[in-house]
Symmetry: none
């Protein structure tokens, strides 16, 4: 955070974005600042002034880089979804993984996304729920939707392979994918609430246990007998 402060201009001295690179840097500084503050205070609780002041910019500058408050939120949302997508792709890209191992890796990746990119997680999965101005804003949702579908397709592909290999039971793969994802989400949300001191279990353990149960349910126990 403190390092960001350097980016701000000395008041009185006007700094020009000398290049596209410079502009990009400022835009990123604003994005980071907003990410931090949205996480801390929510969307409504964060004012433009907070976002700019936090990094030594003036209010007006915000509008040079973003059309309005919603836009910066949208961009952060898209960025978050992209990060998650990359993390999951990376997790299942190792050669020689069995489908079950891949499923496990996906779970682990989602958990890491939550743990290591909490700001983005909040924006992607939590913050926009129950905030009508977002859920009603189609422009906001369409890109997010697309990325979610991509993600789910990725998981489904793993399930299909697992079934083909006989490792997993034959199930409706699209349904199972959705269920699996929903479950992971739900368990992590437990921790979001857990912050509030509600449950008191180590979330990581919980997450593992939950996945284990689900995988147990998916594993084809008759497989061994068949072969």
């Amino acid at each position: 955070m403190t390092s960001l402060k350097i980016i701000g201009n000395i008041p009185g001295k006007k700094t020009r974005a000398r290049s596209a690179r410079d502009k990009e840097q400022k835009k990123n500084a604003l994005l980071e600042s907003a990410l931090e503050l949205f996480t801390q205070h929510g969307y409504q609780g964060t004012s433009i002034e907070m976002i700019t002041e936090n990094i030594g910019f003036s209010t007006g500058t915000f509008y040079l880089y973003f059309k309005n408050k919603v836009e910066i939120y949208r961009i952060l949302s898209a960025k978050g979804a992209e990060i998650l997508q990359k993390m999951i792709e990376e997790a299942i890209s190792w050669p020689g993984m069995t489908p079950l191992a891949q499923l496990s890796a996906i779970g682990s990746a989602y958990y890491r996304f939550y743990a290591e990119h909490r700001g983005y997680y909040d924006i992607v999965s939590v913050l926009n729920i129950g905030q009508a101005e977002f859920t009603k804003d189609r422009k906001m949702l369409k890109p997010l939707e697309k990325q979610t579908i991509n993600l789910l397709r990725l998981i489904e592909a793993v399930l299909i392979k697992g079934i083909e290999k006989g490792e997993l039971k034959t199930v409706d793969t699209w349904k199972a994918t959705n269920a699996l994802w929903g479950m992971m989400d739900g368990i992590i949300l437990l921790d979001v609430r857990n912050n509030l001191g509600m449950i008191g279990n180590s979330i990581e353990e919980l997450f593992k246990q939950g996945l284990e149960v689900v995988f147990n349910g998916l594993i084809n126990h008759e497989k061994g007998e068949k072969e």
Copy 2:
């Protein structure tokens, strides 16, 4: 929505609450109006004026029935949690149910709570996530927390019985309870997002399938062999 309008007064013609019964009715009208609007626009996005105007009351009237904006939210929250609690208690109260049947009934009850009391569901489970002002307001959370713990204990008791009977695998019951609950939440949240047109699966089916998978994972497959 339209039915509520009847309760409102004709502007110019002033209606007085004639009795305690009448007062109760007006209070309920305000609660319903708020429930509807919180769901549509979130807490911050809903103004007192919206709540009153929606049912033809004047702004000042709100404060005859509620101390402030937070109070009406708290009341709705408590009511929602109570409804859910009752639905789940009722679901597992039938004699002769096996633990697994009870688990299934709990899932079904939660789904019905979501489907039939969408406004309350939003407030109890969704709205308060990601609204910084609530997650930091301990006074707001404590009662909700208590009710959630109650609910989880109810489910845990079923799991314990299932394990004792040998119907379910031996697992850490508190963890499993949390995982189970989180999963149900997560699946329903898929549908909350689904409203947005994201996935396109019948949520009820999805929910059933998800639970099935989990139960599969919990069922003691060796039970038969033991006997």
Copy 3:
């Protein structure tokens, strides 16, 4: 104060003012309640509801006895001025008092008015200063003005007698009267501020000392020599 509470009606049971006497009693209860609350919270800080609730009346009842909020203030103001007038008249009515003794008695009476009728003192002398809505309200001021003039005439008469008797220096009696009164007011105001911990002197002592100095200034020191 508690004794006043009895006057309130049992809700549901409608009480009728059986007689003019009954009405008068209720009006007085309201006046006393208002006096108490104006002193504690100021005019603006006192709401009609506070006044009525304080004695178990309902809000609407207030308007059966007073046209509006200002009226009750006006009445209290007049009552206070009357009490003060009576106290001063009484103080100088004892036979055989020298004019100087009478002046002293007037000072003492004013101090007692302040000390024993603080509520009225506040309304008569303090509260209405700096509250434009009163100082601009001629209807409010005229009666008060009249009573003040009466008071001042009373004091002037004493001065005149003192001068005639050679006890006091020959001065413009109307001016001296005003000055004398202003001085007393000023000293008491010191105590009003003193409540705030500003000065830290016993007000009664201060008051006496102040008067002494003034009387000293008025006394005809050459009197003895003349005679």
Copy 4:
């Protein structure tokens, strides 16, 4: 009043504060506007909208210059006290003044403060009396209190010198100081009420006469005989 209006902006045409000097000017415009309105309508009777509209500013602008309504009042209070302090210090700073001449000059200075800075006089001496919210607000009072003590100490020093020189009677100087001050206040308050047409004497004359009487009471008439 009319001169202030010039500072205001033409509605529709937006004027920016170009410099620190410009900002200072706007802040002063707001202070003057508030001073005027507080005097006319009291603290509670003056709304932020009145203050800004009076000089053609928009409501929000107020909060660019002051944290809240109380702050502007506090600043005016402090400014007023400072002006008074300066006037009194200046009045007694001339070389060769006898203590009695100094006392007279103090009286005259206080009168001039009242006559020439009526707005500040109202705030410093009058407005905060009887406004519950101030008399209970210690933060508000403390600075004012300090300045009042300073003032009183200034006067006391003069009295002490007068007594030492034998010009004045030996009295408790702190008490006499308070009494003297209170008297001056009281006489001026007569005029405050006088505005209301109550008395009808030239206040300046009255003030002089009042002081004369007091000084008469303080003068050591035996001095000449002693020497």
